[in-house]
């Protein structure tokens, strides 16, 4: 079994995160780049299967100039090898380019199963898994809060908006998981040392095949025209409850016509 896990470097949600109004992109210098937590869980889901099936290969794939350290981290956790898509042509890539590039790298690598986080903590779009599945022409199971992997298929629970579904798919397939999946393991010292010797392949758009090239050359794309920072919220009155807090709060709500 060959499992490809999609991971992403994102600004740490514990720190300040910024867009740069000049470049209209994420200000990567202004925050710490980390392996997205949901991506760690996706790696964990693959490694949990590998723990019980030693001939499993786990390949982590990421795109973006500064993803080397998160790929090394996933290797330290136990992934077998890494693929890193880096190309100046992909600067400012939208969802369409990103999905096409990832699908090209996955096809080149070969796969039985692709696991991704349901949505990244920075973009929060949640459509990349669907786009990748369509490019690869395989079934899609998104938003899984449980995941059972077997040699022929996957099964899991998906909490859609108004109901919970148990869904299954034959392999090859693409799945995405939610934060209800188990926490990721920490890399061991031995894992961290070993990660430096594991294969990390760097790909450019020229390596991604004709379909990715076609999307990049001809598909419609979204362009960010403007980025505006919202003014920070200003705190209002903060009162200590001395027995009159309820009356003051009701007056406040009433003054805003909220009650």
């Amino acid at each position: 079994m060959k499992i490809v896990v999609l991971i992403k470097e994102v600004p740490d949600t514990w720190g300040e995160r910024r867009l740069d109004p000049g470049t209209r992109r994420v200000d990567r210098a202004g925050s710490d780049g980390v392996l997205d937590e949901i991506g760690e869980r996706a790696v964990e889901a693959a490694l949990a299967y590998k723990d019980g099936a030693a001939d499993t290969e786990v390949v982590v794939v990421s795109m973006g100039p500064s993803s080397t350290s998160i790929l090394r981290r996933a290797l330290a956790m136990g992934a077998t090898s890494a693929v890193h898509i880096v190309d100046d042509r992909l600067v400012g890539a939208d969802l369409g380019w990103t999905a096409a590039a990832l699908a090209g790298a996955i096809e080149r690598t070969g796969f039985d199963l692709v696991i991704a986080g349901g949505e990244s903590t920075d973009g929060r779009g949640g459509v990349i898994p669907a786009m990748v599945a369509e490019h690869l022409g395989v079934p899609l199971a998104t938003g899984l809060s449980t995941l059972q992997i077997s040699p022929d298929g996957i099964r899991g629970e998906r909490t859609a908006d108004e109901e919970t579904l148990t869904i299954s798919a034959a392999l090859p397939a693409v799945v995405s998981i939610t934060e209800r999946m188990p926490d990721a393991r920490f890399p061991s010292f031995k894992g961290t040392m070993g990660a430096k010797k594991k294969p990390l392949e760097v790909l450019s758009t020229a390596d991604l095949g004709p379909k990715a090239a076609q999307v990049i050359d001809t598909a419609a794309r979204s362009i960010v025209v403007e980025v505006v920072e919202r003014p920070a919220r200003v705190a209002g009155p903060k009162i200590v409850d001395d027995g009159t807090a309820v009356a003051q709060l009701v007056d406040f709500l009433s003054s805003k016509q909220l009650v």
């Binding site: 949600t13 995160r17 910024r18 867009l19 969802l95 369409g96 999905a99 920075d122 779009g125 949640g126 459509v127 990349i128 898994p129 669907a130 786009m131 990748v132 599945a133 369509e134 395989v138 199971a141 998104t142 099964r155 909490t159 859609a160 908006d161 108004e162 109901e163 579904l165 148990t166 869904i167 299954s168 798919a169 209800r180 076609q214 001809t218 598909a219 419609a220 794309r221 979204s222 362009i223 960010v224 025209v225 403007e226 980025v227 505006v228 920072e229 919202r230 919220r233 705190a235 209002g236 009155p237 903060k238 009162i239 409850d241 309820v246 709060l249 009701v250 709500l253 909220l258 009650v259």
Partner: protein, 322 residues
Amino acid sequence: MSNILTFIELTADGAPRSSAAALLQRASQLGTPVAVIAIGPAHRDAAVTALGALGVEQVAVLASESADGAVGSAQTDAVAAAVDAFSPTVVLLPHSAEGRDVAGRVAARLGAGIVVDAIDLRADGDSVHVTTSAFGGAFTVDSVVEGGLAVITMRQAAAGEAAAAVQATVTELGSQQSTPAAVVEARTGGAAASGRPDLRSASVVVSGGRGVGSKENFALVEQLADVLRGAVGASRVAVDSGYAAQALQVGQTGRTVSPDLYIALGISGAIQHRAGMQTAKTIVAINTDADAPIFDIADFGVVGDLFSVVPQLIPAIEARTR
């Protein structure tokens, strides 16, 4: 701006889901909405009638036995076929679990440009400007799609005044070359029908956090929500501790809400929680910890015990609204 394809999510028996009305209203601000649905043949007529009741004049239907058995497959085919039939410049979908899957597959299949989780749309000649918000509303982003069809998912919003009911005209869509799909093995009922408004589009949200302390105590959060006719939310800690259902989680890894009034009860206001609610128009916080970061963004803060304040607040609000 001509035809705006609008993907409508349906229940298995053909009822439009709660996202439909607001999405159709958005579409009618840009052009003529054409509702696109995939439905089992047995429920086809019910679905068309229900859309007519929402004021939809044109419905494009893919009647397919697999509409609720194969995840998103017939729905994707329906939208792709409708793009062929109507040559729209814009396809709108709800930014929901199903809407995202369909949007992603359609955009990849057709080579369309895609923008997701839009909070506003504006026509500008032949193109559409799409407003999204980033990092929990700290930044507002304006995007356009260049070079072809725009596929846009809309964040759920409250619907305005209902349109007058009409008799919808139906266009039958032909089957498409489907991509293999996952299959549904079982469905466990909808979220318990609480009678409360949907969290994502409610104008009032009352949320509880660690300070609520237990699942039993969460009833207090619900009671306050009910007197305000609001939705119930929860912090990640409250969900992880089992006080509230996962579907109620507000924050970085849960729902993003933007109500007129957000009341945070016993929520410290970690940065990840704030990312899901800081665009609320008015924020009220009640917390025993005077240093809780939620107070930094609250328009009105009460440093106090929610178990003392809320039981008095409920009858005080009831007295006002009576």
